[in-house]
Symmetry: C2
DNA sequence: ACCTTTTGCTTGAGGTTTGAAGTAACAGGT
DNA sequence: ACCTGTTACTTCAAACCTCAAGCAAAAGGT
């Protein structure tokens, strides 16, 4: 038995469903909303992470990286990947190097910009990813199956609004502050 | 200027609001829902992370850890923390050691169980956390401010349903598989 | 008492991620 | 051409996190 007790992430135990795992009654609504959002996100993430490891021996960040590449057959600049994946540039650099070692992607010089390089699938990479993507989608379909469709549509719409709203409320970062003066 | 271009996480650029950052039109609904959920979660996370660093020089995992302790004044076992924080035990061990070094928490032997230790605030830790918590809540209030209340309530309710639904759909882990035979 | 299984925790290797500092190329304006 | 500022990327340290393997205490069964 390879997995037991403490080693495994305890998502939500059978005896705990129905009670909030991270919030108690005296929190205020903004905090509670955030904790619930996080809880959902982490649970789905862990669900998918386990499946990716068990089925394909890969990780979520790598899958996400490849998913972006799949949407852009002509390749992407690292900068664009950084935006899409919502991670820092250093992280993209690291992931890129590893995926190249794995033989799934390749780098090309960007003819229009000496600083940039463009990254795209190798033939093997694309084939391998597409096999994963089919199953990946099915996992999500299964995961949300039974969460009824009208609810799902409403949730989708509301998350869309929230996404935009939060994006507009970005923290005043140093660079932004300086530009405003 | 300490923060520039590639070093900063590009959450969603001004020119991109309104288009889906991670999904394109041909994805199916389950995948799109997941990506939107993730996008919201990551954005809020980064917002809070930046604030915690700028204002208090601390990190989100540490804050979350302390927040759990704050809800349980009698202290918590590491096991319980692992469940609440939705992270592995090894991670809790590491965070615990660091927070002890920082002087914010302390360990006690659990008199009822020789394997366990109980962790709780030091006086300094509690004071320090509570100062942070007040601001932290305000950040979230500000972040969600203008996202109108009925929407927020609906979203909160739907996320609650989703949380329960997903928790019930846990992946069949090895240990579970074996128990079922 | 003995054995087996489970539980609570630690450790260590390896992957992920950030934030900060640095290099080089581009894009103005002068 | 030069200067200034910005952008694209890399590097590195430090933090985070998972997974697997272990150890010791607890719980149950015989």
């Amino acid at each position: 038995m390879t997995v037991r007790g403490f080693a495994r992430v305890h998502v939500v135990g059978d005896d705990e469903i129905g009670q909030e795992a991270r919030a108690s009654a005296d929190d205020h609504s903004a905090v509670r909303l955030w904790l619930r959002l996080l809880s959902c996100s982490v649970q789905v993430e862990q669900h998918i992470r386990v499946k990716l490891r068990e089925r394909f021996g890969t990780t979520l960040p790598r899958f996400d990286y490849l998913a972006q590449l799949d949407r852009h057959p002509d390749g992407l600049r690292l900068n664009a990947l950084s935006r899409y994946l919502m991670v820092t540039g250093g992280n993209v650099t690291a992931l890129t190097n590893q995926l190249i070692v794995d033989g799934l992607i390749e780098r090309l010089a960007d003819p229009t910009d000496g600083r940039s390089s463009i990254v795209r699938f190798t033939k093997i990479g694309r084939r391998r990813f597409q096999r994963m993507a089919v199953e990946h989608e099915q996992w999500l379909v299964d995961l949300f199956d039974g969460f009824d469709a009208p609810h799902r549509d409403t949730l989708y719409a509301l998350l869309g609004r929230l996404r935009v709203h939060v994006a507009e409320q970005r923290p005043v970062s140093p660079s932004r502050k300086e530009r405003q003066t």
